[in-house]
């Protein structure tokens, strides 16, 4: 027996509003499951940003290409940790691989995840870095030389045939990768969207909304990382690249916002039996996280900030520093907004009773597996992994010299 749980539940008992089924008082998917779709969203979003360069040939965002691939990998490695940690029996996780139930959206996790990690992300990263790895190893000694050699699978072939194959393979992988990234996050949306018992989740739009919010969060995070890491590692921020990426982010936020608006209008207009309890929940329990953080601070404010800079950039020659500041604030706001989006979906879907007669409350613990501390740790872990990855596979090694010259040129124009 877990006395802490019982204590928490006893405290929640008087906070129930209306009637809930007696088993519903415990919020079963807590902070960890909020973190999980947030992280996979970043993976999908970062990967799609990388694909922009390769498939759509957007030259300007080239400096973000490798960074976004590494970001995707760093976050993808942490995603299953959140999932496994929240299980009642984490040590039985292998069951999902041994006896997967094919009709369960969750059981497909292992396969979608393995496909995405093994067949798409690792392969793309490998092909991108192969020739570099060989070259780096040439000029190195000791452990680093061995690591780079091993990562290149001891290949030393930089011949024409091999390099040509690298390029061809990259193209194929990126093209396969985009639907795969959609699949990865669409599947996360489907886990929620396919629950017919829960009208807050059950919507065909949910996977699509998840996808676009994923793109938003991933692109915003890569921009944020780029703007933070570049000065720290002694580089100069390429504003043409950031401007272009922000452009892309801007449209993604608009699509995301419209989709959620469509979903909202649809629900209110159809006004089915659950509408009363859902609107009560939105106006009370989710007021701060949905209306204030997600919509106002996470979408409308960044949209306003970015559009103002876009409009006045040319007219008033807004200085680069001011633009940087606005972008920086916007991408941070967007991160909070998307985290609130995940919170509203996951926690919101469990705060109202399936009897549509009442609401329960979620109280975030500080310590423990489901607690705040662990969640923050999980959110920080990918940054650590990314730092290690960047040590091993420096994303801007040879771009720095050319990039510096280019930036000067752009700033001058």
């Amino acid at each position: 027996m877990n006395p802490e749980l019982l204590h928490t539940l006893k405290e929640l008992l008087p906070q129930i509003q209306g009637y809930i089924y007696p088993n519903e008082i415990e919020i079963h998917w807590g902070l960890l499951i909020v973190v999980y779709p947030y992280i996979t969203g970043i993976v999908a979003g970062a990967f799609i940003l990388a694909s922009l360069v390769k498939v759509f040939n957007v030259k300007e965002v080239q400096p973000l290409y490798r960074l976004s691939l590494l970001t995707a990998l760093a976050y993808l490695l942490v995603a299953p940790v959140a999932l496994v940690a929240h299980l009642g029996h984490p040590e039985r996780f292998y069951e999902i691989l041994l006896t997967p139930n094919t009709s369960s959206a969750m059981a497909m996790f292992g396969f979608v995840y393995a496909w995405y990690l093994m067949a798409v992300l690792l392969l793309e990263i490998w092909f991108v870095h192969r020739t570099d790895l060989i070259e780096w190893a040439e000029h190195e000694t000791g452990a680093m030389r061995f690591i780079h050699r091993a990562l290149a699978l001891f290949s030393r072939d930089t011949g024409e045939r091999a390099v040509a194959f690298d390029h061809k393979a990259l193209k194929v992988i990126t093209i396969v990768g985009i639907p795969s990234a959609f699949l990865l996050h669409g599947y996360v949306g489907f886990i929620f969207g396919s629950i017919k018992a829960n009208p807050w989740w059950s919507s065909v739009l949910i996977p699509i909304v998840f996808l676009f919010s994923a793109i938003v969060s991933g692109v915003a995070l890569v921009i944020l990382l780029y703007m933070v890491i570049t000065p720290l590692t002694g580089g100069k921020i390429n504003m043409r690249c950031v401007d272009k990426a922000i452009d892309f982010l801007f449209y993604a936020v608009i699509v995301d916002f419209s989709l959620e608006l469509v979903d909202f209008i649809h629900r209110v207009y159809q006004s089915e039996e659950e509408i009363l309890i859902l609107s009560e929940m939105v106006m009370s329990k989710l007021f701060a996280s949905l209306l204030i953080i997600q919509v106002l601070l996470g979408m409308l404010l960044p949209l306003a900030l970015i559009s103002v800079t876009k409009i006045f950039k040319k007219r008033f020659h807004l200085s680069e520093d001011l633009r940087k500041m606005v972008y920086f604030i916007s991408v941070i706001l967007i991160q909070f907004g998307i985290f609130a989006t995940r919170w509203n979906v996951v926690i919101g879907g469990q705060m109202f009773s399936k009897s549509f007669r009442g609401l329960t409350t979620y109280k975030v613990e500080f310590g423990g597996i489901e607690g705040l501390l662990f969640a923050i740790l999980l959110l920080a872990l990918p940054i650590v992994i990314l730092a290690v990855l960047m040590k091993i596979l420096p994303p801007w090694k040879e771009m720095r010299e050319e990039g510096a010259a280019e930036t000067v040129e752009v700033a001058g124009s």
Binding site: L98, T99, L153, D157, F165, A169
Partner: protein
């Protein structure tokens, strides 16, 4: 191996080697290392069904008690509690059947027990015997008047309210509070002894109510009663299809 590297570009050949190694390792783990029952759902389900079926029983069941307590069982069989399991009141008794001397089922003697079923509650179905625990012989244990194995009123009740408590309490706060039950129901004395065999009468027609509520009613009690024209009021319906006589509607 050499042939592989000749046929394919170098990077592809290396990936093929890694891929094959991974597949081989995976296949080895899955097919060789992992025992079959762990990955066979059918086996797992059969085991689960067996485990579920083997759980210990706590409630012995309706007929188990009769084997020893045949006298009580016979008494109960004819009374109003005939459909109750012994364990409804005495609790789970499987342990008692296995070890009758040391494990004794509970005998709920406290006054709070019977009202769990028999206290008045407006959510309970009409006609289910209910009392007001506050007013009904306060502090006396239920068993001092009622035999729980053959429950019935201990003495012939004087008041109708002894059995028809809900109606009496409803009527007590209605405009018909002044009326005796017998004003409308002719009640033979034998109804109090065998209530189901001999039943009181009920009013049959509109004219009965009209004796007080008709526009030219002359009955003694009817001085303040609201008056209607029997010929026009209420169309084809009899009075109690709209008005509940024990708590008639009052115009606001």
């Amino acid at each position: 191996m050499g042939k592989l590297f000749e046929k394919f570009p170098d990077p592809l050949a290396r990936l093929i080697v890694v891929f094959l190694a991974l597949v081989a390792a995976g296949a080895f783990v899955f097919f060789v290392l992992i025992p079959k029952p762990v990955k066979d759902l059918k086996v797992q389900w059969d085991n689960a069904i067996r485990q579920e079926s083997a759980r210990p029983v706590k409630y012995a069941g309706f007929h188990a008690c009769a084997e020893c307590h045949d006298k009580l069982y016979e008494t109960k069989k004819k009374g109003y509690h005939r459909d109750l399991s012994c364990e409804t009141c005495h609790g789970a008794a499987k342990a008692h059947t296995e070890d009758p001397d040391t494990v004794k089922p509970v005998i709920p003697a406290e006054r709070a027990f019977c009202p769990q079923c028999h206290a008045y509650n407006p959510s309970r179905p009409r006609g289910f015997p209910q009392i007001n625990p506050v007013a009904h012989n306060p502090l006396k244990p239920c068993a001092s008047c009622h035999n729980p194995h053959d429950p019935k009123p201990p003495t012939t009740p004087k008041e109708c309210a002894a059995c028809h408590g809900e109606i009496a309490r409803t009527k007590a706060v209605s405009h018909h509070v002044q009326l005796e039950c017998t004003t409308c129901h002719v009640t033979p004395q034998r109804h109090k002894v065998s209530p189901r065999a001999v039943k009181p009468t009920k009013p049959q027609d509109r004219e009965f109510c009209g004796k007080c509520h008709g526009k030219d009613a002359s009955a003694k009690l009817s001085a303040n009663a609201p008056k209607i024209d029997l010929a026009e009021h209420g169309e084809k319906y009899v009075c109690w299809q709209c008005h509940y006589p024990h708590s008639p509607e009052v115009e606001q």
